[in-house]
């Protein structure tokens, strides 16, 4: 069955997943690489003109060998030097990785690049594209032979929740027993939806944003009913922010503040 994710279960029983790159993104990356190869060959043709002043015989040999080395060696050199990436793959944030999550080996890189000879048949990677389309892990023939897959490799940094949940006054925390009930009744998926809606709030159209937060606020209001003094005058988006704050942060300092008050 075709899947968009490569899941690997480690011997420790932990599962991690990598998002597989689709044929279209890979084709675009390859097209960019083709332009890079074309540029290198253009440079070589100028260099061979210079060599031609010394000897046309040498210039012919130089351009023949350079064309061969660049067309075959470009993918191998880039993927080896950049751990599974070429210029096109870097641009589209793709990376070649071992199908079982192991370290990518030089022989795997060589194999997948040499098998382009078959994948490229009859033109424009038709065979490779077909194989990629029908393969469960979106592998062209070279990938199958080399035990590799191409994954999307989005830039991932350490998460920063401080900015999102920065400590404004949270009226829901004035009622710790209700806050505890809210934490109990919310499932991880519901919590994730609430958090994601806040993380991505600036991506929505204004009207859609208002509607979304109204719907989500209503959903969470129905789960636990807080007294009017805790919810009156609070916009839906702020209410949801307070809900997420309650769910994802136990904030002992808040409890301490309440005790002191």
């Amino acid at each position: 069955m075709r899947t968009s994710t490569l899941k690997i279960r480690t011997v420790e029983g932990v599962v991690f997943s990598q998002r597989l790159a689709g044929p279209v993104t890979r084709f675009l990356a390859w097209f960019l690489d083709l332009l890079c190869i074309g540029l290198l060959l253009w440079v070589v043709s100028w260099l061979s003109l210079v060599v031609g002043f010394l000897s046309w015989n040498l210039a012919g040999a130089f351009s023949t060998l350079a064309y061969f080395v660049i067309s075959i060696g470009y993918g191998i050199a880039c993927e080896w030097g950049w751990r599974g990436q070429t210029i096109g793959k870097r641009f589209f944030r793709l990376r070649v990785v071992d199908v079982e999550g192991m370290r990518l080996q030089f022989n795997q890189i060589v194999t997948r690049n040499l098998l382009r000879f078959v994948d490229a048949l009859p033109a424009a990677y038709f065979v490779g594209g077909l194989a990629c389309w029908f393969s469960p892990k979106c592998q062209r023939l070279g990938d199958l032979a080399a035990n590799t897959v191409v994954i999307c490799n989005p830039h991932v940094t350490e998460p920063d929740l401080d900015q999102l949940l920065a400590g404004k006054f949270n009226s829901l925390r004035q009622h710790p027993h209700l806050a505890a009930r809210l934490r109990q009744s919310v499932s991880p998926d519901e919590a994730a939806v609430a958090l994601q809606s806040l993380v991505r709030r600036d991506e929505f159209d204004p009207i859609a944003r208002i509607e979304l937060f109204a719907e989500l606020a209503a959903h969470f209001r129905a789960k636990v009913e807080f007294p009017p003094e805790a919810t009156d005058g609070i916009a839906d988006e702020q209410y949801l922010r307070n809900v997420v704050d309650v769910i994802y942060r136990s904030r002992p300092e808040a409890r301490r503040d309440q005790v002191l008050a």
């Binding site: 990598q18 040498l58 040999a61 061969f68 071992d98 030089f106 795997q108 032979a145 991880p188 994802y248």
Partner: protein, 345 residues
Amino acid sequence: MIIDLQRFVAAGRPYWSDLEKILDRLEAEAASTMSLEQLTRFQRLYERAAADLAKLTTFSAEPETRRYLERLVARGYSEIHETRARRSRLAPRKWFLETLPRTFRRHLRAFYLSLAITLAGCAFGGFALILDPDSRHATMAYGHDQLTPEERVRQEEQATEDRLDGRKTSFSAFLMTHNTKVSIFTLALGMTWGVGTILMLFTNGVTLGAIAVDYVQAGQTKFLLGWLLPHGVIEIPAILIAGQAGLVLAFALIGWGKRRPFTARVREVSRDLTTLILGVGIMLVWAGFVEAFLSQYHEPMIPYDLKIGFGLVELTLLTLFLAKSGAKGGAGEIPAPAVVETRKP
């Protein structure tokens, strides 16, 4: 239960950052080594990150932190669980004198099969020419059907000027790259369950057999040997080895009598394929030089006996190299281990 994400991140962050630094160093410096203490810390950090990921997956659906941890665990996993040897330094001499011939010998059956297919093609081409002389137009490539052997020998031996004058180097570069491309293609066609590789070897044999029979029938055996042996004794085995590599790939693909899964079978031969095709490349560079600078020159410029002798010396050395080189010194190169299937992607 939903974990307190901020506290969770705050508690895990120093360990994750440490792990990330170690991974960055390992990935940047392939030759770097770690002390036992460093290794222990690395493993502990990895296990902590894996445990954090498991906890996060179970108790929270927060995607950003999970993606970050997944990426970290994936990188750590590949470094810790990789069992294949890491090649920290290039050792071309050892590779050429030991790894290459041992790899060739490890897949000797595939080479014999490659040879048998080529010989079958030779027999077909030869018999076709004997039975139907007109078949030369179908079986002989590169314009060899346009001249009879007698005409060709007369032309070559009476030539007053060097037809490769001023373009020997570029001709040799053309031969090297063209033959290497054909060899890579022969290997790559192993992915067609070997059908493409067999066809390539067979058609190559047909051309060779037809040309050989044509010259022998015309009484030009000495010319034929003088023309083909100097470069052919290297070029033809190179194509046979490319066919051997293609058949090795096909066997791994088909997996006759092997219970291991496809990925394990292919992983087992992947390094050997690279070794064989690099060896083929080296052989074809030599053959290209010899063909451009020696094979195309005939009597009276160069005596045929000398060319034939040169070819026989090359053939002897090649045979000795492939059969004996690297034979001493233990069991030889350890093949890439098959990965035990404990993960189910």
